[in-house]
């Protein structure tokens, strides 16, 4: 009996080597199935004397457990291997390109406008709008530019009818704002403007401006400078400075042309800034008393400042866009560069 047990064990050890899952299942039946060799041993046990029954019974049990353990281990190993093999079959080239849906972006002008609005909203400026078709009164007369004033030549105007025109600037919104609200007023307005300019890389008959207007009892020239300096730092970086040069816009006095440090050369001078180190951004100044008086605000009590900067100009400088026409050509290869 002992030999038989030993022999079965050896046989099992011999047979289990290198078997597949299916073969192991067969081995299981062969050894410990209902008619298996070990099961047979149990049957033989009944024929043995009581004393030996006990002794061999334990040994056969041990053998059975040995076989079961080995089989289940082997099965687990093989199953693991099988799983790995299957996974491996599913292996892919992870360096293959991803597949994309086309996604959308805001036009770079919109992105720039959003950024401008965000900065001014954070400084407590409300955002207003105004019409693109304007009366002569709002675009010129109320801005201290009466009919036949030579300053009208500074802006070539598209007319739709007598005294009706396409606004040449966002400044008429100043007048709308002052007609609508009583001081304190602190607004910006962004909008599309039109000028009868011949087209080149920096001129286009259509462009956008951001207009600012603050009217209150104690709004000073220093506030104008502080506001534009703060905006410039936020928009272009903390090292970018604002420079004021005397200029003439009939609706402000003192009036200034405002420039910022050339961001391309850091102010050292380059072809873009014509070697001046400065880039012109637009006009600014203290609201002219005639303008305030015209909308029924007493210039002895209230005063304020105003400015008008070009949105395309801001975007061209910030994103180094070389030609204003690109904004309106809307080539997808242009638009998609500005993700946002």
């Amino acid at each position: 009996m002992k030999d038989k047990i030993e022999q079965i064990k050896m046989e099992f050890e011999e047979k289990i080597k290198g078997k597949s899952l299916k073969e192991i299942k067969e081995l299981e039946t062969y050894f410990i199935g209902r008619k298996g060799k070990v099961t047979e041993l149990f049957k033989m046990l009944k024929t043995l004397p009581k004393m030996q029954r006990r002794e061999f019974g334990a040994e056969i049990n041990e053998l059975k457990q040995f076989i079961e353990k080995n089989i289940s281990e082997q099965v687990a190993t093989l199953e693991r291997k099988e799983k790995i093999r299957k996974l491996k079959e599913e292996s892919i080239d992870v360096t293959l390109p991803g597949i994309k849906l086309h996604t959308g972006n805001l036009h770079i002008l919109s992105q720039t406008i959003l950024e401008v609005e965000k900065i001014f909203l954070s400084m407590g400026f409300d955002v207003m709008v105004g019409p693109e078709i304007e009366k002569d009164y709002y675009n010129f007369e109320a801005l201290n530019i009466p009919e036949f004033h030579p300053a009208r030549d500074m802006q070539d105007t598209f007319y739709l009818a007598k005294k009706i025109l396409l606004r040449t600037q966002t400044s008429p919104i100043q007048i709308h704002a002052m007609e609508k609200y009583k001081p304190p007023i602190r607004i910006i307005a962004v909008g599309r403007c039109y000028r009868r300019d011949a087209v080149d890389s920096s001129h286009f008959p259509i462009f956008h401006q951001v207009e600012g207007l603050v009217v209150d009892r104690k709004v000073t020239f220093a506030n104008l400078k502080g506001t534009l300096a703060e905006f410039t730092r936020e928009m272009f970086g903390k090292d970018v400075k604002v420079r004021f040069t005397p200029s003439y816009f009939p609706f402000v006095e003192p009036g200034a042309e405002t420039s910022i440090t050339c961001v391309l050369c850091g102010g050292k001078g380059c072809p873009v800034c014509k070697y001046t180190g400065w880039l012109e951004m637009g006009g600014s100044g203290m609201v002219h008393p005639n303008v305030l008086r015209g909308v029924g605000i007493d210039p002895e009590v209230y005063q304020g400042f105003a400015f008008g900067w070009g949105i395309e100009r801001i975007a061209m400088i910030k994103y180094r866009i070389p030609d204003i026409r690109m904004f309106y050509q809307n080539d997808l290869r242009f638009l998609k560069q500005f993700k946002g």
């Binding site: 597949i99 693109e132 030579p150 004021f244 003439y248 003192p254």
Partner: protein, 801 residues
Amino acid sequence: MLVSIKLLKMIIPFNYTAEEVGNKLSMLGLEVEGIRKVKHKFENIITGKVLEIQDIPNTKLKKTLIDTKTEKLQIVTTATNLKSNDVVPVALPHSKVANGTEILERDFKGMISQGMLCSYAEIGLDPEILSSEEKEGIFTFPLDTPIGKKVEDVLPIDDDYLELSLLPDRADAFYLVGLARWIEIIKAREEKRRADFAQFEDHSSINIAGETPIPIYIEDKTLCPFYSGRLIKNVTVSKSSLSLRQKLFMLRIRPINNVVDITNFVLRFYGQPLHTFDADTIQKEVIIRRAKKGERIKTLDEVERKLTEDNLVIADERGPIAIAGVMGGYETSVTEKTKNVFLESAYFSPHCIAKSARSLGIVTDASDIFERGADPLLPPKGSIIASNLISKEAKGIPAKENVVSFITPAEPVNLRLSRVEKILGERIDKEYVKKYFDFEGFDYKDKGEQLEVIAPSFRRDIEKEIDLIEEIVRMKGYNEFGEALIVDKLKAAKRTDYEDFIWKLKDKLVKIGLDEVQTVSLTSESLLNLIGYNEKDSVIKLLNPLSSDMSLMRPLLLSTLLPILERNKKMGNTDIAMFEIGKVFKKEEGFKETDELGILLSGKRTEKNYLKVEFAYSFPYLKGIFEDIFSFCNIAPRYVPEQLTWMHPYQSAGIYLDKERIGYIGRINDDILEKIGVIDKVFYGAVNVEKLMQHCNEKIQFKPFSLYPPVKRDIAIVVDEDTPEEDVRKAIISAAPPELKKIVLFDLYKGTPLPPNKKNLAYSLEFSSVHKTLKGEDINKFIDQLEKVIKEKVNGKLRKE
């Protein structure tokens, strides 16, 4: 405006380079855009006098004998404009002309030419500033030009010019003396002293003989506060002398004749516009008055002009002889034959001249200065300067002038120091303020807390207190003021609701996967024709367009989106999903502008890929986008089939909110696309943005949803082919219990085994309840009823599955 540094230095000495002057002027508000440096390019060309001219027989050539002071040269020329005694540029043998060509002694068939006589081009002069005579054939110098001199020493060619771009408030710098005064201000400011403008005054006296027999009458003293007329007898009208010609050259004035040259010179040098009449053509008297409607005048440029009451004229007994401050008349102008000159030196109202010049569409140097504000005290001096020059250059004898003057002394302007501080946000010490006014040569009286200021008469920009404050800033320096942020009560800053909505909408559209475009809001007749837009009467036209392709205000976004589509397709950007939110314009109760949203799709949503998965844009996809937006805006419009000229007749629909059409959606007509070279299908929809906004502010509030698993049921319905799907869907919903939460059309089929003219619609229905887990039986009752409803409402047959 180009200003000669050489001439400037003749009246004010300074040690700055041209670039430095440019910068300093710019920082004071006189913008210098650049420096133009001019240097002569020829070599060894001198002045010579023509002694003899002889035709060479059987040729077009002429043989000349030229005196160059040191020698007499025989030079052959083809020119026909030469006379004996003309002084001309002579290129000596081994000289170079402006284009670099070397001139050598030459043999013309046995005739030796010892050099060459030069035209203006050969000495490289700018034709813009030459008389027509000087541009013809060989250039000729004034008769008093010395011979044997280098041409570059005779004509001040080598010079630096400031490219000045002056703003309308700087009438005081439109002429040389005016600009010199600003350089004096720069010097005074640097040297901390009072500006000395006296150095620019002309103090010469005048020798007069006799009276001016032409009386002067001014009808409206507000339009013409000063007029002086002076007779100058026995003038010889001819070419200007060399010394005047040199100044004209530096001032870039084109010479005409000595008398006219002098008036132009006084204008551009001293800033006084003048006019000279042939005195013998004036009938009896001179009246300064408004033109009468219907009056006409032929002006110097030989144009017959119709006048209106907007024009101020100088008239004699017969009628207008000049348009005051704008342009003289042709009939009374000074010519070679003129013997006696009537010299006008006047001051006209700026507004009056601006209106007059603009109503006629003429701009002249004179009108430029008058409309910006000339110096009202200058005319008497201008008359003397011009008279003396005419007597010197043209040998005329000036008479005593006739003057009518309504000029009153200038009122002082009060400056409150408290006001200065209030506007600038900085206290400026009174002594500093006085110093700043000294730099600019202003007179002032110290009245304690105020200064009474009188600016020089040429400073027409100083009228009010605020003008003086600007001068304080100008003199202290715009960048010498501190920066301060606004300090105020905190309040929430915001956009208008409408603007807020637009940004949200744009954000939504970008999230959907569309690119925003911004197109020009001007369109053209041909684009509208291409589309077949037929409401032409309501399109707004520009009265003065730049070009025909931007001559109309766009009445619909599509007209400006199509060129963008065309361009992108041509550039190989085949997949296009774009939107624009922009203004469209219409004549309607005046001029109306409204915002429109346009969405244009063409190509695929997916990039071409190795999985061969693709999603092509289509009508349903476009409709899905619009449905998304409508749901975002809390509206549920209807779609009604319609036919628009630019859309596919059977693939487009009007979008209706209640009874109002708010937009449309569909596929663009292939005929239009073909014309712009686009072969792909293009889907387009547009809606009025304001209509979208009406309900968008309804607050979103939480609605409970079921926490129990839903029950799903698929059904199929066979209906007539032309039954709108929407009717079927509505029929299902009408019969359904409130537990029906979702209905999805997942199949649409025509063909066998269905009978002809039938279609099969398959829906997936999803039911759920917030109260309990639904069971199949709960739904079965509904399905049973549905069979009847479908039969009744859409004549359909329910196929249970």
